[in-house]
Amino acid sequence: MDWPTFIQSISNAVILGSIYAIVAVGLALAFGVMQMANFAHGEFFMAGAYVVYVLYALGGMPFPAAVISAFPIVAALGMVTERFVFRPTRGNVLAGFMATAGVAFILQVIVGQVWGVGLMRSVPTPYMGAASILGAQMSWQRLIILPSTLVMVGGLWFFLHNMKLGKALRACAQDVEAASLQGININKITALSMAISGGFAGVAGALMAPINAVTPYMGHSIIVTAFIVVIVGGMASIEGSILAAFILGFIHTFVTTLFDAVLATMAGVAFMAIILVVKPTGLLGRVRM
Amino acid sequence: MAILEVKNLSKNFGGLMANRDLNLEVEEGEIRGVIGPNGAGKTTFFNVISGVYKPSGGTIKFDGTFITNLSPDKIAELGAVRTFQRVALFPNFTVLENVNIGRHLHARETLFGAVFGMSKHMEIENLEKSRKIVDFLGMTEHQDELASNLPYGLQRALNVAIALATEPRLLMLDEPVAGMNPTEKAEMTRIIRLIRDEMGMTVMLVEHDMRTVMNLCDKITVIDFGEKLAEGLPQEIRENKDVIEAYLGAEDIVA
């Protein structure tokens, strides 16, 4: 691999890792708080992309506003899912997970019927042009992902460690019974977790809307990767997800550059299987799968 | 011949020494009691011997074979079977079916045999043996009842029945009379004695009920804070100052 390709790959990997991080952190948070494993997390990502499609591409709203709007809209989807799918199946991780497969179907159909199925790259790029960093060409569209990730993950960290509600969330993740005895309303916490989880997935999808093809099925590719990242990182660990996100971003990018995308996915999947077998708690996690 | 030889057994749970340097020898045909205050490490001891936990140090020899790091099913196959402190049974099966499942080690069925019903003869034998065990424990009239519908005392008895079905050489009972009323306790005591006297099995039991322990056991080992505190005949243990002190405040030593 020559130097320019190498640098290009590194920058692509960092960007990819950032998106993975936003998506995976949402998934890890929900699982950490109440073992909510969301099969439809990819569809939340897709919903965020469609928010941008509808508001920005169709509606003319400025791109940043559209992206920010994705958060509350998809957060609402998360809360509905928590109330009607996760709460009734609380205690049964598998049942909740399988039921959210139903949520995925529902979202795919609704989006597909309202806005049409089929390949759509109809989200025009708001930021044309590219920057040249150390010899690598990075489109501005991709570059804005970096500060966005920092803001979101940083914001979440601040929330979890410095704000009352955030600390309550962490308490719940550590020990539900103790948290409940302290007077924390568990249902509020689970609803909040799924709201944040959905919001994060939505924003990630929104950021990727001008980059990826926007279709009702775009969630398929991201969900596999999201779970790989979260398993490798440690199912309930946010730090683990971030670490794993970048590791997998690098693996995926370099394998794709050297070989092809299919092999990259295979590598990711194989890595997940290895971790599950060799270190079931994941790199930084404490929950044994 | 010592059927069970435990040497320097230790079990460490990330800093907590549940068992520390335990040494123990049980002779074949003995009824051995293992007692100690709550949290002394008795059940951990059982869990390590039966393979549910891996020891952190030391060795365990059963009937001349080292079983130190074997899996529970291998240890059961060699003839050392334990019961659980909790109610452990197969809730959706009848009493008889529960005991019959316990015949697993004496019922080799291949997949081919399963499909074509080859082991009919062995199955009839096993069902007969299971019936005998159900009778032995006085549960004949319940044999077709679902295990989950049984009252607590009978469920504990079923635990023992399932273990007996494996035809063990060493039977390890974890609090066999816990939660039982005096009649049930007397009955279980009688049964345990018969298990040794008529079936020739060695029995080791963990118990809190002092009367049962003193009546039943040939020899008693006392564990406290994960270490062996004392060992000897029931009379000696009853008068042992260290043992009395360890139990200070607990009424059950005054049997």
Binding site: V93, L94, F97, A101, I106 | D73, A88, F90, G113, E123
Partner: protein, 301 residues
């Protein structure tokens, strides 16, 4: 029977029976408590095996169906082996990962699997002058296989082996301590169930004439999960009822066209949140109620 109902429905019946084998073999794994997200991949292994053997090597049907099943069983063993250290959700996700890895092999390699486009021109079965290209003879062939496979699975369920699997699910620690090698039984159940999924795959491949990796992806797997959840896994018949009910629903809902998956998604959610034991559990509740009524009746008399 096929002569009466018309060709469209014969094709549906063929598919229905193949799905029965698929669902019943899936249930075998669940009896010892494992839920797998890789089951349809094993159907794919059988399908690809027969496609390769028949198309490139000209093997006869009896050879390919046997080898298709065996291939699935072997791949099944390879997949379950690393998974034995996991259970529950970890097993589920892990089985998905490994199954997807196998499936991606078909996607990646144009030779010999045909890559994403898959394989076409799978020869139809030829047995003693009967041309199994037609629906009616194929129907009878599949009927034979379905009865055979279900009978074997039923016998396993009733046997001591079947009881051991259920014991493992009920109390794994107790099972271990009475000498049951839990890992070996879990592996055996997984491998045997993969075998039957492979047989289903062989039957599917020769009916469709063409297969591609999308036939065996997570989407298809979710449908299998829906059938099994709706039917319930408590009894042997549960999954079969689930397949029947959901295929009927699917046919009845045809006018819904592209909205159909929404209905299926809703049904899945409804069952998992309201009746997780499936229609099976409903039946046993009804049976219980009837038993109690008769008991009261006799008491009163």
């Amino acid at each position: 029977m096929p002569e009466v109902i018309g060709e469209y429905y014969v094709e549906i019946m063929i598919l229905f029976m193949i799905n029965l084998i698929l669902a019943s073999s899936f249930r075998l794994i669940t009896t010892c408590g494992d839920w797998s997200l890789s089951h349809v991949v094993f159907m794919g292994v059988g399908a690809y095996a027969t496609a390769l053997l028949a198309k490139f090597l000209g093997w006869p049907f009896w050879g390919t169906v046997l080898l298709g099943g065996m291939a699935s069983a072997v791949v099944g063993l390879a997949v379950v082996f690393p998974l034995l250290r996991t259970k529950g959700f970890g097993f589920f996700i892990g089985s998905f990962a490994l199954g997807e890895f196998v499936r991606l092999i078909w996607v990646k390699f144009h030779f010999p699997f045909g890559g994403p486009r898959g394989m076409i021109g799978i020869p139809s079965i030829e047995l003693s002058d009967i041309d199994f290209y037609e629906a009616t003879p194929y129907y009878y062939l599949v009927l034979l296989f379905t009865i055979g496979c279900l009978a074997v699975l039923y016998r396993i369920d009733l046997s001591r082996t079947g009881r051991v699997l259920k014991a493992i699910y009920a109390d794994e620690d107790l099972s271990k301590c009475i000498g049951i090698n839990v890992a070996r039984y879990r592996a055996m159940a997984f491998s045997v169930s993969a075998f039957f999924a492979g047989i289903a795959g062989v039957l599917l491949a020769h009916r469709l004439g063409a297969i591609d990796p999308k036939n065996f992806d997570v989407n298809t797997m979710v449908y299998l999960v829906i059938w099994v959840v709706v039917g319930g896994v408590g009894s042997f018949w549960g999954p079969l009822i689930g397949v029947a009910v959901m295929m009927l629903v699917g046919e009845a809902a045809r006018p819904l066209a592209e909205w159909r998956p929404l209905l299926f998604g809703g049904i899945l959610i409804a069952f998992l949140t309201l009746l997780p034991g499936g229609l099976d559990s409903l039946m046993s509740k009804v049976r219980e109620l009837l038993d109690r009524r008769t008991a009261d009746g006799t008491k009163e008399n």
